[in-house]
Structure formats: C-alpha cells, structure tokens
C-alpha cells in the first residue's frame, strides 16, 4: 500500500506541475490575475506531494520492504539504517526522484522568496520550471518507476553497492543534484526574460543569488566526489576525467562563467545576450550530463545501468528543452541591445576573457568526452580519450586566465588606468615571485611549468589580499566593503589555494608499489613505513584484513595507519579502505593490495604534498560564494526598478 501511495503522490505532483506551468505561462500572457494566483499554491502542492512520494520510498527502504523491486535491488537487512536511507538515491530510479525533489524545492523557494520580482515575471519563471519538472516526472512515470512491485517478494535484498557505503558518497549525490537542478532556475529566468523580450540589470540582480547558490552546491558536490574518489577507490587519485566527472564539471565551468557575466550585466548592462546564452548552456550541460550518465552511450565507471528507452526519452526531452530555449534566443537576442561600450583595459575586458576561457575549457572537455562517441557513430573505430588529453587542453585556457585574474580583480569598470594598477600590483608581484620560487624548490626540482603553476596560485591569493590592504589604507574598514566584494575576494583566494594544491600534488607526489611482509620497513620521502602486522577484522556487513602500518620520521612515530581490504558479504566484492594520515602540508597514504602468498602483501604507499589544498580551495570558493549571496542588495525590494522588467 505504501509504495502505491508513493506512486500516486508523484502522479498528483505531476498534474499540479502541469497546472502550474499553464497558469504561469498563459496567465502571464493573457494577464489573468486569477490564473496567476494559482501558481504559488500549485508550486507548494507540487513540493508537498513530491516530498511525500520521496518520503514513502525512503520508508520502504527503512522497513526493508523487499516486495518493492528497487528496494530489493539496492538494500539489505544487514545494511545500517543510515545507508538504507542513502540507498534511496543509489541507483537510477531513486536518484531521479531525488532530482525531482530538488527541483520542487527550488521551485518552492523561487515562489516564496522572490517578493521583489513582479508577479507576472515570476509566474513566467515558475511556468518554465513547472515544465522542466513535469518533464522529469513524466520520465520517471514512463520509464523509471521506483515503486514497481516484485512478486513474489524477495526474501533478502541484493545490498547496496559497497563503493557507495561511505558517508561522503551518501551525501554527495543530493548536493550535486541540488547544484545541477539549481541551474534550471537560471535557465528558467533566462527563458522567461526571452519571452518578455527584456533583459535589465534588475533581472541580472534577481538571477545572481540563485546562480550563486547552485554554483555553491556544484562546487561542494564536485569536491566531495573528488575527495571520495581519493580515499575510497584506493589509488590516491583525485580526478580521473571520467565522462561522469566531466558531466559535472562542465556545468560548473558554465555556472562560473555565468556568475561573472551576470556581474557585468548587473553593473554595466552589458553582455546581455551572452549572459542569457550562458544561463541556457549551463542547464543544457546538466541535462547533457544526465543523458550521458543514464543512456549508456559512453563507458564510465560511474554509469548507471543503461536502457535505450530511457536514453531516448532524455534525448527528446533535452532536444525540446534546449531547442525551444535556443529558438526563443534566436528570436529575441538580436533586439536585446548591447549597451554602452568599454575600453580594452577595463574590468569588462578581463571578465570577457574570463568568460571566453571558461567556455573554451568547457568546450574542450566536451570534445574529449564525446570524441569516442563521434568516432563510433561515424564508424571510424572505437577509441578512448584519456587524462593526458584533458590535462593538457584544460591548462591552455585556464592558466592564462588565472594569471590575468590578479590584474582583472584590480581594474575598474569602463576604463582602467595603467598607473594606479601598476602601483597596486607591484607589491603582490614582488612578494609572489620569491614565495613561488621558494615553494617550487621545497619538494624537489621544478620545471618551468611547475613554477608558473605555483606562481599563479600564490599570485591570485596575494593580489586578493592586496585589495583588502588597499581598502584599509584608504581608511576604510574591511568589513564595510560590500559583501559581494568580500565574497569575490574570498572565492579567488580559494581558487589560488586550489591551483597551488593541484600543481604541487600533481608534480611532487611520490608513490611506490611494494610487496611487504609483516616486519618489513620501507622509506619514502623521509618517512619510514613499517608494516607491523596483519589481522582479520569484522564490520557490520563485511569481513576485512587489516594492516597496521607505523610511520616514523627521524625515529619518532608520526602516526599509525590501519588500511583495510574489505569483502562485503552480500555482493562479495573486494574493497580497498586506504589508511590516510591527513595534514596541511602533506598526506601519507597507505592502501592494502592483494595477498601475494608466502605471507607477503602488495601495498601502495604514497606521499602527497598539499593535496588537502585542493578540497580546501574548493570549500573556500564555496564560502566566498555564500558571502556574496548574503549581499543585502539581492534581498532588498527595489520598487523603482522592479515594476516592469
């Protein structure tokens, strides 16, 4: 009965979403106040029934209702309750339901938190959002119903994939989906603006906080996924350029570009049609990612079980969504106007470069991701594109971008002057060069590119700080700066930390694969790793062999690590649980491999300098975004501008 209620709620929510779209779009077109008044209640109702549906599926997991096929496929009585809940979004059907839940939460928020937006325009936005969400609900109802019964009921479930039995990965999908779907808000604002045929700076101000929020979720979601891959997959890598990772990274790049171009549209009324195009592209890449992950057209370690019918549905949905949006764009963009001009040396120019570089980076990643598909479709053979391609092409646009960032941050709108710019940048430059040189040689002999990478990171951080110092010299308190400005500086410091972490980790990491017996000692990067002993260990739903490795430096014990090799009982798949000693300046990483017989085990030990800066940088970026979002300007009702956008 419970699962049927869940399905019924979803059907109801679908109907409400359809009414919401119609009332919103038609009500705005024909100016019918009584239709417009329907939009908010429908959005609220849609959320209530989606949440109910999601809650009922979760309930089926908690009580181990193995008469539901989806539960039987992804859970088990031996699974701890926390993972039973996380198992709801472990596979295709449930994760789509989570996507829909995220979308209805965004819808609810837009309908209640945007009092300053004129009702007609808000109705249009919500109308578009309703269409998008009803498309996803139809997808679930037609091809991916999670409530399907299994008759006769299974006695025991097949258990959750052991790779997913991890706290970081349990919360990674909800956050990432919130980000993906959040881009639908910017998309809907863009489509609504195209329908009205007007893009004003008020419009840009409305969209900015939503875009920032989605971007924050994406940033944290991607960082979590990368952190998980680092400690759970057992290889010590943190990014693999896998199609699914790329599918999350491309929308992030687009959202980043969008945030910057919105700044120009808001402040200067420029880049209007470009901003609209970015808003459409960001969500398009989210949809594209969904398609790639779920249709099975690409090989990926993360790919969901594929089904051509599902692939076809998303492809049609994707084509319709983006096609209509771009059709509106062709119709309206030429008349949006381009506003006042700007000089070559100005903040506008630097933001334009930032935008182009980010879009080029996303484009190159898209090419690499889809290249195998193109070749196969053209009958030119099966190939795969690996990390060397991505590492190289990603650097080409992003390295100059990061180097120019320091200058861009300090230049003024419309027209910047060389003289004050040079004065401001002299100090950070004079400090950055020796600091970068010192850091470059701290771990070994650097190449020129390594130095440039480290310099870029230090340079961005220092030039962000010099902005703060500058303000203080002008006699103003740092905290009197606009929040969006502080947020920008903090986010850029985060980027600098990230660049620093990536460069140092990629170049100076050391790893060794060894065969060790209990009692053996090896040396790596000045640390002595000793495999003390091996013993059998037992978890709630797995058996493991656990190594005990003590690490000494100059005779003093630094830490003791307990890497495990686990075998989960139900799916009998072996898993590596690495032992990691995390630190600000370096990680020590020990992963237990296989029993080689004659009492020796293969071990992989690694020394990874500054690896934490990668995720720390991402978190600082997200925090910067949060600061920007708290800008009071975004919440104030500005009647003068807001009457007719």
């Amino acid at each position: 009965m419970i699962p049927e209620l869940g399905l019924f709620s979803l059907v109801l929510a679908f109907c409400l979403a359809i009414i919401q779209s119609f009332a919103g779009l038609a009500g705005a077109h024909w100016r019918k106040p009584e239709w417009l008044a329907l939009v908010r209640p429908m959005a609220t109702g849609q959320f209530v029934f989606v949440a109910l549906s999601f809650g009922l599926l979760t309930w089926s997991f908690i009580v181990n209702d193995f008469s539901v096929e989806y539960v039987a496929m992804n859970s088990n009585t031996g699974l701890p309750t926390f993972y039973r809940i996380a198992a709801v979004w472990a596979a295709h059907e449930g994760s789509l339901l989570m996507w829909i839940l995220a979308m209805s939460i965004w819808t609810l928020s837009v309908s209640w938190l945007n009092e300053e937006i004129p009702e007609v325009f808000r109705a249009r936005v919500l109308g578009v959002m309703g269409l998008v969400n009803s498309g996803f609900m139809l997808f679930v109802l037609a091809t991916s119903n999670p409530f399907v019964r299994l008759l006769p009921a299974a006695i025991e479930g097949r258990d959750l994939n052991p790779l997913l039995q991890d706290p970081a990965l349990a919360i990674h999908p909800p956050i990432l989906y919130a980000g993906y779907v959040g881009l639908a808000v910017a998309f809907s604002f863009a489509v609504a603006a195209l329908i009205e045929g007007k893009v004003t700076s008020a419009w840009a101000r409305w969209v900015r906080p939503w875009t920032l929020m989605a971007w924050i979720f994406l940033t944290i979601g991607i960082a979590l996924g990368s952190w998980w891959a680092y400690y759970e997959l057992g290889w010590g890598g943190w990014w693999f350029w896998d199609p699914v990772e790329n599918a999350s990274f491309m929308p992030w790049l687009m959202a980043t570009a969008l945030i910057h171009s919105l700044a120009v549209s808001e402040t200067r009324g420029l880049f209007k049609s470009w901003t609209i195009l970015l808003a459409i592209s960001g969500f398009s890449l989210s949809l594209l990612g969904t398609f790639l992950v779920r249709s099975g057209v690409l090989i990926s370690v993360h790919a969901f079980a594929s089904d051509p019918a599902r692939g076809l549905f998303i492809l049609i949905f994707l084509g319709l969504c983006i096609g209509i949006a771009l059709g509106l764009y062709i119709w309206r963009a030429p008349s949006l106007g381009s506003g006042a001009g700007f000089k070559v040396l100005s903040r506008e120019s630097f933001l334009l470069i930032n935008n182009l570089m980010l879009v080029v980076a996303a484009g190159l990643i898209l090419m690499g991701t889809l290249y195998p598909l193109f070749m196969d479709a053209l009958e030119m053979g099966k190939i795969s594109v690996g990390p060397p391609y991505f590492n190289l092409v990603f650097l080409i646009p992003t390295l100059p971008m990061v180097l120019l960032l320091g200058v861009g941050m300090h230049s003024t709108w419309k027209r910047a002057r060389w003289e004050p710019l040079r004065k401001r940048l002299k100090t950070p430059l004079l400090i950055a060069v020796p600091v970068a040189l010192g850091l470059s040689f701290a771990w070994g002999r650097p190449s020129v590119l390594t130095f440039v990478g480290i310099f870029a990171g230090v340079w961005v951080i220092l030039s962000a700080f010099s902005e703060i110092r500058e303000r203080q010299e002008m006699g103003r308190n740092f905290f009197s700066l606009p929040r969006s400005m502080i947020g920008m500086l903090v986010a850029h410091i985060g980027l600098g930390l990230f660049v620093l972490g990536v460069t140092v980790t990629s170049v100076f990491s050391i790893e060794k694969d060894l065969a060790l017996r209990a009692g053996d000692t090896v040396e790596l990067a000045g640390y002595q790793f000793k495999l003390e002993s091996l013993r059998n260990a037992e978890g709630p739903n797995f058996d493991a062999v656990e190594g005990m490795v003590t690490i000494r430096r100059n005779g003093k014990v630094v830490t003791t690590l307990y890497p495990q090799k686990r075998v989960y009982r139900v799916q009998t798949s072996p898993m590596t649980e690495a032992g990691i000693d995390a630190g600000w300046t370096r990680d020590l990483f020990v992963a237990l491999g296989d029993d080689l017989g004659d009492e020796s085990w293969s071990l992989r030990i690694q020394f990874k300098p500054l690896v934490r800066f990668i995720w720390l940088g991402a978190l600082v970026m997200a925090f910067g975004g949060l600061l920007s979002m708290s800008e009071p300007r975004y919440r104030k009702i500005q009647k003068a501008e807001g009457v007719a956008p």
């Binding site: 049609s273 764009y329 195998p372 196969d376």
Partner: protein, 177 residues
C-alpha cells in the same frame, strides 16, 4: 543574425550524434582474434594433471572455450547455463581455468557439476594473455580449422546461446559436415 543561430546548430549536430550513439554499445570491444587462428598453447588438465591439451590437439571440431575461475563471481551465475548447454550435447565445451587454485577449482566442479569435456589450467594467466582475456567469464567459439569465430565477454545466458552462438555453430557444421 547568423551568430545567434550557431548555438542551435551545435545542438542539432549533437542530438544527431547522440541518436546514433544510442544504437551502439560502447562496451563491445571486438576481439582482434576473431577470424584469426587461435593462439598456440598447451596446458595441463585440471582433473588429469599428467595430460595436456591445446590448440593443436583440438583441431577438427567446433568447440567452445570458456574462461572461468573460482574467484569469478559471475562464473557461478553462468555455471548452470553451461550445464544446460552441455546437456544439449551440440558442441563440446572446454574449460580454461584461469589464475586459480587447482584444489579450489576441482572442489568447484565437484560441488556444482562439470560441464566441461576437460578443463585446462592456466595458473599464472600467461596463456590467457595470448587469448586477450581481460575478465571472466569469457567464451570463445572456435571452428574445425582452429579459427576463432566469436567471442562473448559476459556470462553466457540461454538467450545469448540461442541468438548468437547456435546459428553460428549450425553454419559451421553445415559448411563442413
């Protein structure tokens, strides 16, 4: 005007490619061995360690070569299907026990039944490399002259057996009775 058209053109091209891509399976990697002679090897037998078998000795018959190991979870799922195919007595199945403990492998056959005419033992996996084995289970179809006709990288199912293997086997037998 034309610059506003570019995005939708990109979309149309992408959607076109995706549509074609939907009808292709990226996981099928054609074996370079297909249509070529099977690699030359000779390996001891699992149940009669004194005797050996290899490409040379198997010439003159159409047969299946099934790669298995007790460490391979999907092999257990496939085993019942292989038993059924063996019962049908259409082609002999030879086992290729890969990177395994012979003791455990013999126990496996004693417990689950033995669908194989004989199983060869490739303890260190070296011959498996010649065959391009990268997982298990894998099943090869080899003709009378020792040419590899077909390869399956997945557990055998009755459906695959009927749709892919049987027609090929009937052709081979019809061509050279």
């Amino acid at each position: 005007m034309s610059r506003f058209l570019a995005p939708i053109l990109i979309l149309v091209v992408l959607v076109g490619f995706f549509f074609i891509g939907l009808h292709k399976n990226p996981n099928i990697v054609p074996s370079p061995l297909i249509g070529k002679p099977a690699p030359q090897y000779e390996l001891p037998l699992l149940l009669k360690p004194g005797e050996t078998l290899g490409t040379e000795k198997l010439l003159g018959q159409v047969y299946l070569l099934n790669v298995w190991g007790t460490w391979c979870f999907a092999c257990r799922a496939e085993h019942g299907v292989l038993m059924e195919i063996a019962r049908q007595n259409i082609v002999p199945i030879y086992g290729f026990n890969s990177r395994d403990d012979p003791q455990k492998a013999r126990q496996w056959l004693a417990d689950l039944g033995d669908p194989y005419v004989a199983s060869m033992v490739d303890t260190d996996g070296l011959v498996g490399i010649d065959w391009g084995v990268y997982g298990a289970p894998e099943t090869f179809l080899i003709d009378q002259t020792g040419i590899v006709i077909h390869k399956l990288i997945a557990p055998m199912t009755m459906r695959i057996w009927h749709e892919d293997f049987l027609p090929l086997i009937q052709q081979l037998k019809a061509a050279r009775p």
